[in-house]
Homo-oligomer: 134 residues x 4
């Protein structure tokens, strides 16, 4: 893994459905934003998690950690930054920062860990072409 | 179809994640409540939509209609009432009423239409045992 | 209302969380996509629904209709087209088309009706500046 | 805090909308199940988080951790067990176990940390009656 990892960014507006009665973004919505960061990461690597599944592999989530620094609201323009923080033959780990796109202010940080499974649901080595870009 | 159709009821509390910044239940959440009504309908018929899929069939949603009469809030105890309003060899239609469980007050009504698909995604006749209970 | 209404378009990728075990986009997710269309409509009019609420008014959803033509999948690039199909002093109605962004193929159509409420939850006339752009 | 803490349990079926294209429960859905555990915890203490908010206080989520042990599927009957694992004058921490209700098998564990805010969004001491039951 290189010392300065590739960081992908996805920018979007908060949807009304993602807010809650506290009039802020519901804390579970950020877990979906992390996933949007992973999706964008793979798109920018010229691939897609959809292709990964088509080739017969799945990434199962084993761990999620999120730290909430400041609340976000409906229509806020947010950027999720995502990079691979660790990768082995059977596991991969992503880190996330969600910032307000206009001010750059940090709002949420997080980490997800994943394990590679094959079609039978057994732990498998990642296909080689998927370990190159990390 | 009998003149007095079987009506299934599922009762649950509104989750905080289902509310929005208007401090009421988000309108898309009721579509999920309708689905909870369908699931309960099938459970009370001694079957499950999971079994339907295991037997190689799928119900694809073709139409959703919802009419919102009065807002619901976090922790409200709601009952969704669900019955089959129409059934043919390849299609099925459910109607819904969502009421406040304590007062019986009507909050939302709705209708969903579904078409039966086989594993290849083609329109198929419903398996016989699934048309008996309607 | 003009004869050729203004149509706003929002384009985005399907998120994994928006799919279901049928491996397609869950039907309730499209109701949220409709809302994304409304949000974009207002942004392109130089305003925001957030501003609407700040000015003391709310748009409550009274009706939702969706017609599902063809399924969408994870990572599909979709465009929601949204326009105002009817507007009166106290109510407003939006129509939607969701198309696959690459092929232009129509996937879902829909309609939502809304009523204007004030802070007390009573039906109110829309503020004048909000009726100009329809 | 007593040595054997009070543990609340909420039992429910997995909804179809909570699954994803991997045909298992989406990992963000469990964060909502944790919340359902908190809600039930407060109900069993004879109160409600809705009352907490009515009294002018809010619990903002500052940290979420989840560890996924085994996947769950549509219609699985799950029980979330929730207890207070730490409580101070301004913060509270809950721990969760999600088990399959029929087999007792452990599926997901988690932890959430919260800080008490007043109506102005400032950190505040918890109201006394809310610290008694921990």
């Amino acid at each position: 893994m290189s010392e300065t990892p590739f960081v992908a960014e996805a920018t979007f507006h908060v949807r009304y459905a993602e807010t809650d009665a506290q009039q802020i973004v519901h804390h579970a919505s950020y877990i979906v934003y992390f996933e949007e960061g992973r999706s964008e990461y793979l798109r920018q690597q010229g691939t897609s998690y959809a292709d990964f599944e088509k080739s017969g592999f799945f990434l199962a989530v084993t761990d999620v950690t999120a730290k909430y620094i400041k609340a976000c609201r409906y229509d806020d323009k947010l950027t999720v930054r995502c990079h691979v923080s660790n990768a082995r033959s059977r596991t991969i780990e992503f880190k996330y920062e969600i910032i307000h796109a206009d001010t750059g202010e940090l709002r949420v940080t997080g980490l997800t860990k994943h394990i590679c499974l094959n079609r039978d649901g057994n732990i498998a080595r990642m296909p080689e072409e998927w370990t190159k870009w990390v």
